[in-house]
Symmetry: C3
Subunit: 184 residues, 3 copies
């Protein structure tokens, strides 16, 4: 009788253990939460000294120094932007955001991003890699953390973007709320 | 005696449980399967109203309104294509496929893709992010699901692409069979 | 008494099992290690026959046949490079490295990469997808393995890049040390 009860308990345990290797999982709590800001100064033909990014591709109706008509559809920008811990462009940078974004919709402003945070400060050394759609007229947008190195070895998670400031066609600042759900 | 048997059973259980956190895993069953179609109408200089994509970069021997010689090597296209549940361009869209592809081989047609499905229907709200090589002359091609948001929080898996229709140099329709192996 | 001890053991087991599904994990041993070399011959206006890559985008101050001033900032290259098992360009290729890189810093040489290894040999059939920052003046650089197909179904891990050879502005060879931490 006792044996029987024992074996059913064991069966349940094995089932529970097994289920952790199965694909359907409970939505977990973040194992790491980080907040950063990065600052993009787009080259406009006159700010070569300050610019941290430049348009490198555009459709046939566009050009490489002024963002296009049609909600900038097809304009691709490569950037190397300073990352700060707060929203001040002049705070000491903790790393660089390096990658690209492009505008991908004719009717409204929408972008797509692929980039890395290359962090090099006393607190964080390593990279976090991101990719995803950025419907930038929304107050917040979620993209994927697709990997990481160094302190962020094999990281996975989500990053919530919000536009913290925008100045004409030259400057914007993004707040990035990173939630990692796989940490090592 | 009984104690001993018990402890060996426990040992096996702990071993089994432990192994789920190890790296080598059984190839799992999909936890979600989705099929969508997306429709790409490439800008060719004359179809600005209908076009959902445009060439934005090309090598020095190419240009931005006609796909290049040498199997279009180096042509990069940015797209914002409607997604439908069936293979009819005129079905109500369930979202947009947004991203880029580029042709990357001189001898034959081969592409590389990075894009998101931005789904917004009664059934699905969220994004799925994809990346991978697309040897488009093959009947089916596998790319990676590298992340997701919303209903597809932290998704990972594979997508099998097949060309469902192609009309000259202006229109193609891809069928995307998505198998997710990590669901939350 | 015995029952009590049993239940505490069971509790510990359940806890251990449960923890495998939690996010914080021990840094694992690689489940697969692979070393490859790939060879990039950049089109320079005169080597159309041999070239395996071409500049397809550049900022307004650049052009598409010569890499730009300012550490090539903004130059984007699409490639289809042979992969070999050793460091000899003339060894039989085991696959192709297909994707893009772009230079993204004004002051020094730094790149960002997104590409696939499309392997097709007696040993390996399948693709491995990579993305990440490549500060190419460093002796070694880590990027992320963000997915895979075929033999590399759902692979995740890290790749360590090192520049194995470089010849002027036309040829370079990268050594890629791949460590996979999720294998199926």
């Amino acid at each position: 009788m006792k044996e029987k009860r024992l074996s059913s308990i064991l069966f349940i345990i094995v089932f529970l253990c097994g289920s952790t290797s199965m694909a359907f999982r409970q939505r977990p709590q973040p194992c790491n939460h980080l907040v950063f800001y990065f600052h993009d100064v787009i080259y406009n033909g006159e700010n070569a000294g300050n610019a941290t990014s430049a348009i490198v591709a555009a459709p046939s109706w566009g050009n490489l120094t002024i963002l296009s008509r049609l909600s900038r559809f097809g304009d691709m920008v490569i950037f190397d932007d300073p990352i700060t811990s707060d929203n001040n462009l002049h705070s000491p940078p903790v790393g660089r955001a390096q990658g690209m974004y492009f505008y991908d919709k004719k009717e409204i402003f929408t972008a797509w991003l692929a980039f890395s945070f290359v962090l090099n400060s006393t607190n964080h050394k390593g990279t976090i890699n991101f990719a995803g759609a950025d419907p930038l007229l929304n107050k917040t947008r979620d993209i994927s953390v697709i990997g990481g190195t160094g302190d962020f070895f094999m990281a996975r998670g989500m990053a919530t973007l919000s536009t913290d400031a925008i100045e004409g066609e030259v400057y914007f600042r993004l707040r990035v709320d990173i939630n990692l759900y796989e940490c090592y």
